[in-house]
């Protein structure tokens, strides 16, 4: 029998690595370096893969397009503990133009207000007045403004184009992402 070549072994290992990439999409709680695998109740907790693998996919964060999951009705999170209230959805885009040399930022209220009430951001994090918020990437990276959620819970700050999505003349620079694809123009 012809012995396996080094190349064959290497390709095999790469295939295994790719398989494990898929398997590792959502770490098991026992292997996530956070949960104590010896916790007697660990098997009672839901595994991320069980809940997240059936939701619309994304390429970062939880690997879930949360906006699409909500808009498609695949999840129906309660909007209040006080009855069947939902936040009021606001279809208002805000364009931020002090972003050069990067494309302008378009902030779509719609997907944000589908997830949360106005008071979540206003007036503590953001003043409701155009130009009144000295937002910059430094502050965002420190967890202020957009960075209170983006980079911690919502899609991460490496996804530049999802926010910096409009050239000054108004032409989109990239295909709309889940977070902005339903925005009103």
């Amino acid at each position: 029998m012809k012995p396996l070549s080094a190349t064959g072994i290497t390709i095999g290992m790469l295939l295994l690595a790719m398989l494990s990439l898929g398997a590792d999409k959502w770490k098991s709680l026992k292997d996530d370096d956070l949960h104590d695998p010896s916790n007697p109740s660990i098997d009672v907790l839901q595994e991320p893969a069980e809940a997240l693998s059936v939701l619309p996919p994304d390429t970062s964060g939880n690997k879930v397009n949360w906006v699409a999951a909500l808009q498609s009705g695949e999840i129906n999170p309660r909007g209040s503990l006080q009855g069947d209230l939902k936040p009021e959805v606001l279809e208002l885009d805000v364009v931020m133009t002090t972003t050069l040399p990067l494309p302008n930022v378009i902030f779509p209220h719609k997907p944000h207000t589908e997830w949360m009430a106005c008071e979540t951001c206003h007036e503590e994090l953001f003043v409701s007045q155009i130009g009144a918020n000295p937002i910059n990437m430094g502050r965002i990276l420190e967890g202020e403004y957009c960075g209170r959620c983006h980079g911690a819970v919502s899609f991460p700050l490496t996804e530049c184009n999802r926010c910096h999505s409009v050239k000054p003349e108004g032409s989109p620079t990239a295909p709309p992402s889940g977070a902005t694809r339903d925005r009103e123009q």
């Binding site: 290497t10 494990s20 770490k27 104590d36 490496t158 996804e159």
Partner: protein, 127 residues
């Protein structure tokens, strides 16, 4: 070493390193260890992913007044049992009660309070 061997070595290295680099918590998991281990119980792991499937952001962050800063909330078991913070839902009716210590206090020892979980991003704007 010729180019062929160098290529093989590179592939081999990638095959080993790539899976090893993927040990991380779920994105947006919060470790809360302000005082847990100091009194002899494990740190709390709060999974955002589990809760956002069931509740919109402002239920906790507006209605319940939970600040969007890891460690920025003075959560105590007394308050939880009185129906504040986690106790608004974890009352034995809507969700498991505070008597089920291990279900929340499920973290490894020595974890520091903070937001955890890799971004697992494919890079800037690749989608």
């Amino acid at each position: 070493m010729n180019a062929y061997s160098r290529c093989n070595r590179l592939l081999l290295t990638a095959a080993v390193i790539v899976p090893a680099a993927l040990a991380w918590a779920e994105y947006a998991d919060v470790v809360i260890n302000n005082g847990a281990e100091a009194v002899g119980v494990s740190p709390v792991i709060f999974p955002h992913w589990f809760h956002r499937i069931r509740f919109q952001c402002s239920v906790c962050h507006v209605e319940l007044g939970i600040q969007m800063k890891a460690g920025g909330n003075d959560i105590t078991m007394d308050k939880i049992v009185s129906g504040e913070y986690c106790g608004a839902c974890h009352d034995g009716v809507l969700a498991w009660s505070a008597e089920n210590c291990d279900l929340c206090h499920s973290g490894r020892s020595g974890l520091e309070t903070g937001i955890r979980g890799g971004h697992r991003t494919a890079g800037p704007g690749i989608y």
